[in-house]
Symmetry: C2
């Protein structure tokens, strides 16, 4: 036993400074059945030599094997400083028209396997890491080529395990691989979506519209309700990229492919749009769940705005407020900070404080807790408030009383751990 | 001696988690000679009962004793949720026209001392604290009245000590009272400026133009180069207020007062403007020096912008970037984060990455360290970079290459201590 005095000091020290235990995230990467994953893709994660330790995966490869190259649509960061892979991928898409030259929606099923040199011109690339550091491009090309040529492609697979290996290969400060899959039926046909993403810091995407415009459905890929509505630290990356691929492999050869088209079949269109949006939201939320140092997952809902943009701006401001986020970490129901953030940005119509309400909505289905109603502070039951903010999940709801539009943002708290991770990221 | 193993653990723990020692701030509140302070004001700080412990000062009173009420001009927060004292002070100024009814620049020197009830209508008020908590107004009025009536005003004084007591009385998480004074001469006449401010968190003012317009000089009181260019945490307060008072007490009775007027005497006008701006900048910077948890004082200079607003926006974005601020805390010369922040907001002209340069400017007068020159990363001497970011003071300089306008922002780093202070602020 250490001397009692020192022990007491250590304890006090720990209770005031040390990070809270991070929430367990094991349930977020439980295995998924192979049958959920789309046909016609093979994947892997390999060690190409970017990272020093040979046991670390550092390169993910996704290859469309059915019907030639997949059709692609993508959105990219609006940051004026675009990372090299963003510029390259934009060029690839511009040149290929999103792959539509392969058959304009219907795919050219006789397309031969392209040789590796051609593959470089049809490959969308993404990278992550310290800005300004040059990556070893020879190792990356060798890594891609080793998987893209049939001869050596023995690591490629289409099972959950292969997808998971790929998702693991591009993690940086992520604590778990982010992989989701779902299937649904439209007019008796099964559709499958699988997706991976990564990110834990420098998360505040504001991506532009897809270019070229997506060939199949006019879904807002930018994710008004998904990727463009998440924040970990308010910092926009130079690398933000969303890519959607489709190669029609699920359509059997005997079947004539029909595009899902809003005019032709509105119900089918809406079902697909809603499934894709929900799927994108799920993937986007995983990033916030794994936010650097995060101990909370917080939904910020802004309602009663004159426009969607107004609601989105307010939700973004609350989601990036250092004072709101440290209060969340400290489990302090400090609604005044939410209010100050709400009022701090100009909107398309002036805010009337007497029409603004703020409440906490628990995720367990119990009653919301009003904190401010029409500009008047409620007498808050602090015990109940503490109970709500002590949960890992929490919704902050702000009613502006100015209109009918709404938006959501997903954010996390600001912890010692965030400061620690980002104070020594490069070293 | 504790057992070596535990001791080693404690040491490791301390070296990874514990806050760095805070910079000493004693030199920032050294005594100032009484002769620097303007004539015609008396001040004090008292315990009025807002705070529980009787030894804590909680109310500052400043009273203009010469020539009746002082002329006043003020700027207030643009937050849609204005704190009660902001609304009251705005009303007082609107009603009184900034005190000009007392003689439109020249003061009515025969104005009798107003009774306490009238004083309430001529008093500008400011408060600080947790948003939404109602302050005990009876105690505050009693406190003001006790000082404002000649009979009981025995605490009031005009020395440095009285000013310092007042500055101390409105501190919250501030670690030192913020008080400055200076004197200068224009056309043989001595002018004196004294000022106090407070603030350490919820610091990102964006105040509106003075209303009513200041009677004497058209200085941009909002502080393009002072209060509207500081950030601790990016959060705009509901209470931000700047008040400038002038009562002409320095003008002897035999002398005819002349207003400093740009048309009449441009040199005098510019001297006064520059002195007032420099003074406001000095006061504003004290807030950043005392930023919650701050271990660094960082000047962000943005040059080569198409407009002042563009330069100011970029400087603000860099100054509020959580990633830039944690890197500064970690003394990591991570210029990529500065670049990402720079590129993340739309400007009036598109940024051309090949014209952007970033450098660190040491405050000791030694050579600046280029990090990025015309979009190309420099081979950075990491030892030198570490040396520069390890100093308490540092300048980050960003050249946009788009025009001739520039702006500065003053900010601090983001530390464990900030999270700690704001995780338990209310408790």
């Amino acid at each position: 036993m250490p001397p009692p005095r020192l022990f007491a000091q250590v304890k006090r020290f720990a209770s005031t400074i040390v990070s809270k235990p991070m929430p367990s995230k094991t349930h977020l990467h439980a295995p998924l059945p192979d049958s959920l994953f789309p046909k016609g893709y093979v994947l892997t994660g390999i060690h190409s030599g970017i990272k020093k330790k040979p046991e670390l995966l550092d390169l993910a490869v996704i290859l469309s094997t059915a019907n030639g190259p997949a059709t692609a649509a993508a959105c990219f960061t609006r940051n004026a400083f675009k990372a090299a892979p963003v510029v390259v991928s934009q060029e690839v898409l511009q040149r290929s028209g999103g792959g539509r030259r392969m058959g304009n929606g219907a795919r050219d099923r006789r397309a031969p396997r392209a040789p590796p040199s051609a593959l470089v011109h049809e490959t969308l690339v993404m990278s992550t890491g310290v800005i300004g550091q040059t990556l070893p491009i020879e190792k990356i090309i060798a890594g891609i080529s080793s998987q893209a040529t049939a001869a050596s492609a023995r690591n490629l697979g289409s099972t959950f395990e292969a997808w998971e290996r790929a998702a693991r290969a591009f993690m940086t400060t992520d604590t778990f691989p982010k992989l989701r899959a779902r299937s649904f039926t439209i007019n008796g046909k099964e559709y499958r979506l699988a997706g991976m993403d990564k990110g834990a810091g420098m998360i505040h995407p504001n991506m532009g519209p897809p270019a070229p415009a997506p060939p199949a459905v006019g879904v807002d890929l930018r994710g008004r309700w998904s990727f463009n509505s998440i924040s970990v630290d308010g910092d926009m990356s130079t690398n933000d990229t969303i890519v959607v691929l489709a190669n029609g492999a699920a359509i059997s050869d005997s079947e004539i492919q029909e595009e899902i088209d809003e005019e032709h079949d509105k119900t089918a269109y809406e079902t697909f749009r809603d499934e894709l949006t929900a799927f994108a939201t799920e993937l986007a939320q995983l990033v916030v769940r794994d936010g650097e140092g995060a101990t909370k997952f917080v939904t910020v809902s802004v309602e009663g705005a004159p426009t969607y943009e107004d609601a989105h701006k307010v939700a973004s401001r609350i989601s990036t407020s250092a004072l709101v986020k440290t209060a969340l970490f400290g489990e302090d129901a400090n609604w005044g900070r939410i209010l100050a953030a709400t009022g701090s940005i100009p909107l398309s119509a002036p805010l009337d404080p007497t029409r603004v309400s703020v409440s906490f909505v628990p995720v367990d289905g119990s009653s919301p807790l009003p904190l401010l109603v029409n500009g008047e502070p409620e007498k808050v039951d602090e015990v109940r408030a503490k109970e709500i903010v002590s949960a890992e999940d929490l919704e902050i709801k702000v009613e502006l009383g100015l209109g009918k539009e709404s938006a959501k943002y997903w954010t996390c708290d600001f912890s010692y751990e965030y400061v620690k991770i980002n104070g020594d990221y490069r070293t």
